[in-house]
């Protein structure tokens, strides 16, 4: 020891350790840095200018697709495996049925324009492909995949009947502009669901093309594109909606980026057991542009003054609402689905896609919904909903003949038709996940927990306001 030359090194290390270790152990630092949500954003692929690559000229949509496929060989095939192309889910086993079924825009009905069968030329304007004009569309023909609708960036590309590019679109210019899909691409179809801007979803409309941060904090303040959350790999876009999907296998959630424990306040964190993020963070639907809340088909066909927000001869009368308070219901990610042919009780409102879950279901939380009510055609003898033909020859929008429309539609859809048309009330639930407000604008306690609060506690299964009566655990029993 006396002669060890490097004793001083040992001494230095020991001394430093004696000082540093207690500091590290006992000094409390500021709160740990959370997982940064930005960490989860997908890397944006750098843009490649296609001006010299897509010289054209192109005669048709499939011409363009063929040109794309010269380099992007697998792209079209990938698309054909997705629901943007098939408009149909994989077979899924739904509760209460003995056989797996597929659902999707291809074969299901809603309570807006009801169904596409027989109406393909009109409805497939929003299909990510070209030429789906009848039941015999070849889903295996990859050259019919429409690359442009999602990738073009000129803003001049529109699709017309059967999904074909509109007259006058310069396909070469459009093809040269391709890039990563933006809100303009997705929104060109998704904002116009139901037949026009802002009609259908309640949380998706034209105000989201270039929103301010008051409309949506992600798209407004941070300029998020759809694909930043709806992560896409091999053209498979994440996300689903219970109008056209029955299960939650392709789910995306706020917690994909945001840490669950991000609320500093424990009381708010305690709410996460029973409340979905959207419930507090999407306080209103259709914040800027009114959405359709009710559609009465039975009044259609009359020569009354027309107004797209009130009455159209081809469609009937509507009720639009802007900045509406959502309806709240338990939802565990899955929903029932009305399939063509299912029996209904016309004296009560048929819910076409009832969200599943209740207060006892630990997977379920309270979510905000837009509930769209409608009065739509049904067959009073078979007691099932009808899917009328509206577009094209014999369609209601030309003939204004419900009987003809119902017969032709039933043929196309493969359901029975007795010859009589009645109107039955229906409802559909549309989850509100967009138009997220900034945290400063989220709901406060008294928005729900007050005399005129938003929640109907007893309808949700609580004894009363949980602040006073106890929360879910106390209502259903602490050990459940």
């Amino acid at each position: 020891m006396k002669d060890f030359k490097y004793i001083w090194v040992i001494g230095l290390v020991v001394t430093l350790l004696i000082v540093i270790v207690p500091i590290l152990l006992f000094v409390s630092r500021e709160a740990e840095a959370e997982e940064d949500p930005w960490h989860f954003l997908p890397e944006r692929v750098p843009h490649v200018d296609h001006t010299d690559l897509m010289t054209g000229p192109y005669e048709s949509g499939p011409d363009v697709t063929r040109a794309c496929l010269e380099c992007h060989e697998d792209a079209a095939h990938e698309v054909t495996e997705t629901v943007h192309w098939t408009w149909e889910s994989e077979p899924v086993m739904l509760e209460g049925r003995d056989q797996p079924i597929t659902i999707g825009k291809k074969n299901s009905i809603n309570n807006f324009c009801i169904g596409i069968q027989g109406n393909w030329t009109g409805c497939t304007r929003c299909h990510a492909g070209y030429g789906w004009e009848d039941a015999d569309f070849d889903f295996s023909n990859e050259e019919n995949v429409d690359c442009l609708v999602c990738h073009e960036q000129t803003g001049t590309y529109t699709k017309s009947n059967s999904g074909l590019p509109s007259e006058g679109v310069d396909l070469a210019v459009v093809a040269q502009s391709v890039g990563m899909p933006t809100r303009t691409n997705c929104g060109s179809c998704h904002f116009n669901g139901g037949g026009g801007n802002a009609v259908k979803h309640g949380d998706l409309d034209g105000s989201l093309f270039f929103p301010t941060e008051n409309i949506d904090v992600h798209m407004g303040r941070h300029d998020f594109q759809c694909v930043d959350c709806h992560l896409t790999e091999n053209h498979e876009v994440e996300g689903h909606l219970i109008s056209v999907s029955a299960d939650d296998h392709s789910d995306l959630a706020c917690t994909s980026c945001h840490d669950e424990s991000l609320h500093e306040d424990e009381r708010i964190t305690a709410h996460l057991d029973a409340i979905a993020c959207q419930t507090c963070h999407v306080p209103e639907g259709a914040v800027r542009q009114a959405t359709k809340m009710d559609w009465d088909w039975s009044t259609a066909g009359q020569d009354l003054p027309e107004d797209p927000h009130e009455y159209l001869k081809i469609k009937g009368s509507f009720v639009y609402e802007q900045n509406f308070m959502p309806d709240y219901a338990w939802f565990n990610g899955k929903a029932d689905r009305y399939i063509l042919g299912d029996k209904i009780d016309p004296t009560v409102s048929t819910v076409l896609n009832q969200p599943r879950g209740d207060i006892h279901d630990r997977e379920a939380k309270i979510w905000p919904f837009k509930v769209h009510t409608a009065n739509q055609p049904y067959d009073p003898n078979y007691n099932h909903l009808l899917q009328p033909k509206t577009v094209g020859e014999g369609g209601y929008w030309t003939e204004f003949d419900w009987d003809m429309a119902a017969r032709l539609g039933a043929e196309a859809a493969g359901i029975e038709y007795s010859g009589e048309v009645g109107f039955a009330p229906t409802e559909m639930y549309w989850v509100l996940s967009h138009m997220v407000v900034s945290k400063e604008e989220a709901l406060q306690c008294h928005d729900c927990h007050s005399e005129d609060g938003r929640m109907d506690w007893e309808a949700l299964g609580y004894y009363g306001d949980p602040i006073r009566w106890g929360g879910r655990s106390q209502t259903i029993g602490l050990n459940k």
């Binding site: 004793i7 000082v19 709160a31």
Partner: protein, 915 residues
């Protein structure tokens, strides 16, 4: 509404007043005719409305008597006798000048008899020559914020007002004629009195405006009935009140769906205590800095769950204020959740004094029925500066810690217990108020409408419209509050300063009518006043001109007042502190930055602006009973603004990082710098001399193993720890100069280092004692002085000439006498002193009483600082002196590697034996 007209009877005849009021009310009640209230209380049984004689009002047409009506089931006599909302000081009346406030004209601690400069009128004590306000006028004006009963019903001797014999000059049975100042009789039989008004707090939509009208009009007997206007139970047409028979059933009892009895909500409390805003849809908006919302005007508090950024007020940087006005309101807590009735079985808890130690909770209490029969209307209250009424009920309300778990949530705070003791929760959790509040009120001058000139905190000046003025949030003053348990802690306050004329002996405030007479001639100023005050000659006096800022102006007004018969009019001034307990916030909005208080710009000693004027150059004094130990100074700056500033020393506070004793710092740094200079001089001289090669002595050196591993370890550990302690200590002492460091982190490191130091020193002490090495440190008395002298001579003279060391170092005797003495002092005096002062500074949170008895931080901290300066100086000296060996760096190397160089002496064979 004009400020003063709220508290002034109009000069119309009675008939005219009734007609005017009735017309307005008739228009209001037209809509209510025949309608019955919308919502119903499911549980309250139906009951007849009885008048004061016990008759059903449907038969007698008389006003409803709450005592009789509600008294059918509830013990109303008990209720009204046990309610300070009713009593408001009546049972505590005393001769003027004996109240806790210290004012010579106050006669009680409550609304009835205690003066407030905001309202200005005062209840004249009996015997006063010049009467300002009598009981009847009090009921009519102040009664607006009074729940009825008490002084509105009963005289000061306990008899009902209606039974009082009318003696000439008796304020209780007369009223002052505003024109002549003479007393004219008041007929209590005719006006009636006001019983405790149950409807005001216990119905869903009490009509407070109608009630106020009735009080203003002197229609006291109908005030409680007026509260029901709009419910459809009673209607008023002109002068006539009629009970609506359709609201009653066949037996004369109220229809079930007309019953709107409920427990009081925040909205009920807000009628008098204002401002409360619970509607989430409508943006909150204030109409001005007005006294209608008492709590708001006195403190800037607004109780609302709404986010400030959603309000409709013009607040600076409002978009960033995403916090709610009040977090408890946000969390759906009502006033009565904290300010509950003291015998409410839900909240009832036995008092600490009688509760035995073995019980934390006693479930025995009155049942609901007993409570409903005799609900104590003594409500839990805190201990506010302005709440002088019912001091025996102070601190019955839940404090923060009775609901909140402070231990868990403040783990991030160093010295958590110390902070909790010294600083009230509100100090950090109510960092700013976002509504304007009164700053000062100057009654020495008068505006043409008869109101005083007033300034509001947070807004520049009262201009044309309130909504156009920008509101800047203000930080409340932090003053030491004397808690009921004897301790003192800092708490937030608003300081409201007032100036006013007093006269006579005993002093009285000059009655408003006399002020008006002195200043105004109708609606205009007297010409001589106008000419003296009007600086810009525009024929008008604005707020900046309306100030008594010269002896001439003071004399003018004083002489006018004297001419009106007021003896010796002079200006007086006072500061009333208002406690701030609401508008609590949480999370990021709370004060969390240590430097807010621990820095030279400490919030604790921020100058608080009192006013922009000093009328008559009178400096204000604090009102006597606000339990604020305000030790500070009131001073004016160059602009003529008046400020108050707390002095931490006088308040026996020592805020680390802010306070320091200048003498200590000067002395310490002087010693430090002197040491450096000395060392530089000595060393420089040595260097110079050695260059000149004047060394005569070339010693033969030998390596000796001087220091064991442990000795070196404890030495260097001590070195490192002391360095870090000095460095962190310096940052704590002057945090502003070291802004890059986190104060909280540095404090914790300092404490850990101190602990390591103590452990290290203790272990080293044990080693030295156990091994006997301690002998080295003890100076031998024999020959001590001679040796010490020789050593000193060497350092001062011999060393420059390369003389032989008088003392040779051996492993058995490593230190010369001077060293021994120095280390003796260091290790037995300085080090223990530093450790103990540090220990007790830390221990102020664990043993507060012991530390307080030592003098507390104001004594310990400066001493700790001085010793640290001495340590710093010692280090300089010590390191330098290690170079006085044969080779300059030999001793340092010795302390690292263990081997030192020792001179070989002929007569002293150095021992080479190891350790």
């Amino acid at each position: 509404m004009r400020y003063s007209s709220m508290f002034r009877l109009r000069k119309l005849s009675r008939l005219q007043r009734f007609l005017a009021a009735g017309l307005i009310l008739a228009l209001l009640s037209v809509g209510a005719l025949g309608t019955v209230a919308a919502q119903s209380s499911p549980l309250h049984p139906t009951f007849p409305f009885l008048d004061a004689d016990g008759q059903n009002v449907l038969e007698s047409g008389q006003p409803v008597s709450t005592m009789e009506t509600c008294g059918a089931c509830h013990d109303t006599a008990f209720i009204s006798e046990h309610s300070f909302h009713t009593d408001v000081g009546l049972s505590e009346m005393m001769p003027p000048g004996q109240t806790s406030s210290g004012r010579p004209w106050d006669t009680s601690p409550g609304l009835f008899g205690r003066w407030n400069p905001l309202t200005y009128r005062f209840l004249s004590p009996e015997g006063d020559e010049r009467i300002d306000m009598t009981t009847a006028e009090w009921v009519s004006t102040f009664g607006v914020r009074h729940a009825g009963g008490g002084p509105a019903e009963i005289g000061q001797n306990g008899q009902p007002l209606t039974d009082l014999p009318v003696y000439k000059g008796d304020p209780e049975t007369h009223i002052v004629d505003p024109g002549t100042g003479e007393l004219i009789p008041w007929d209590w039989e005719e006006s009636g009195t006001v019983e405790m008004n149950c409807f005001l707090c216990h119905t869903q939509e009490p009509n407070n405006d109608a009630r106020i009208e009735a009080l203003h009009d002197g229609q006291f007997r109908w005030a409680n009935t007026a509260t029901l206007l709009g419910t459809g139970i009673v209607d008023q047409v002109g002068d006539q009140w009629t009970w609506n028979e359709t609201a009653f059933d066949d037996e004369g009892s109220l229809l079930e769906n007309a019953i709107t009895i409920q427990g009081p909500t925040s909205g009920n409390c807000a009628q008098c205590h204002g401002l409360v805003h619970v509607e989430s849809e409508t943006p909150l908006a204030l109409s001005g800095c007005t006294p209608e919302q008492w709590s708001t005007i006195t403190t800037g508090q607004i109780v609302s769950p709404q986010r400030i950024s959603d309000s409709g007020m013009n607040i600076s940087a409002k978009e960033d204020l995403g916090r709610s006005w009040d977090v408890h309101a946000e969390r759906v807590i009502d006033c009565t959740d904290c300010h509950h009735s003291l015998n409410n079985p839900v909240y009832f808890q036995e008092s600490d004094e009688s509760q035995p130690d073995h019980l934390t909770f006693d479930p025995r209490r009155i049942d609901h029925g007993e409570y409903l029969y005799r609900p104590l209307h003594q409500f839990a209250k805190g201990q506010s500066a302005q709440g002088s009424l019912a001091p025996e009920l102070d601190n019955t309300a839940r404090r923060c810690e009775s609901c909140h778990n402070i231990e868990e949530t403040h783990d991030w705070l160093p010295y958590k217990e110390r902070h909790i003791d010294a600083v009230s929760c509100e100090s950090c959790h109510i960092p700013e108020l976002y509504a304007p509040s009164r700053q000062y009120i100057d009654w020495t001058v008068l505006k043409p409408d008869g109101s005083a000139v007033a300034g509001c905190r947070g807004i520049e000046e009262e201009g044309e419209t309130f909504s156009s003025m920008l509101i800047t949030p203000y930080k409340p003053a932090l003053l030491p509050r004397e808690n009921s348990d004897g301790s003192t802690s800092l708490a937030p306050y608003n300081l409201l300063t007032s100036w006013f004329w007093i006269y006579g002996d005993p002093e009285r405030p000059v009655p408003q009518r006399d002020l008006e007479a002195a200043w105004l001639d109708g609606d205009e100023y007297h010409p001589e006043i106008l000419s003296l005050f009007d600086k810009n000659d525009d024929g008008q006096l604005d707020s900046s001109e309306l100030v008594i800022d010269s002896g001439e102006k003071e004399t003018l007004i004083a002489s006018r007042l004297a001419a009106a018969g007021l003896d010796n009019p002079r200006i007086a001034s006072e500061i009333q502190t208002y406690s701030i307990n609401h508008n609590v916030t949480h999370g990021d909005w709370v004060t969390k930055d240590c430097r807010t208080c621990h820095g030279s710009d400490s919030l604790v000693t921020q100058p608080v602006k009192l006013s922009d004027r000093i009328p008559g150059q009178r400096l204000p004094t604090f009102v006597g009973d606000d339990s604020v130990a305000a030790e500070g100074s009131i001073f004016a700056d160059e602009a003529g603004d008046l400020y108050y500033q707390l002095e931490t020393g006088e308040a026996n506070l020592y805020v680390l990082g802010h306070d320091s004793v200048n003498l200590v710092d000067w002395l310490g740094s002087f010693i430090f710098i002197a040491t450096i200079l000395g060392v530089v001089t000595h060393g420089g001289l040595r260097l110079f001399m050695s260059r000149r090669n004047l060394t005569a002595h070339e010693p033969e050196l030998q390596g000796v193993y001087m220091y064991s591993v442990y000795e070196r370890l404890w030495h260097w550990l001590q070195t490192l720890v002391i360095f870090v302690l000095l460095f962190t200590g310096l940052i704590i002492h002057k945090p502003d100069k070291f802004g890059v460091f986190s104060f909280s982190y540095v404090v914790q490191v300092h404490n850990i280092m101190a602990l390591i130091l103590v452990l290290n020193a203790a272990l080293a002490a044990f080693y030295h004692f156990a091994s006997g090495e301690i002998q080295q440190f003890l100076p031998r008395p024999r020959g001590f002085f001679d040796q010490a002298f020789a050593q000193a001579k060497f350092y001062l003279h011999g060393i420059f000439r390369g003389a032989e060391h008088p003392f040779e170092k051996t492993p058995q005797r490593k230190m010369n006498p001077l060293q021994q003495v120095t280390y003796f002092a260091i290790l037995n005096i300085l080090l223990p002193l530093q450790i103990l002062t540090g220990l007790f500074m830390w221990g102020a949170q664990r043993w507060p009483d012991i530390v307080a008895s030592m003098g507390g931080l104001p004594f310990l901290a400066p001493l700790h600082t001085l010793v640290s300066w001495l340590f710093a100086s010692f280090i300089i000296l010590h390191v330098y002196l290690t170079t006085t060996g044969h080779e300059p760096l030999a001793s340092i190397k010795g302390m690292i590697m263990g081997w030192d160089e020792v001179e070989v002496h002929g007569h002293e064979a150095p021992s080479t034996a190891g350790d």
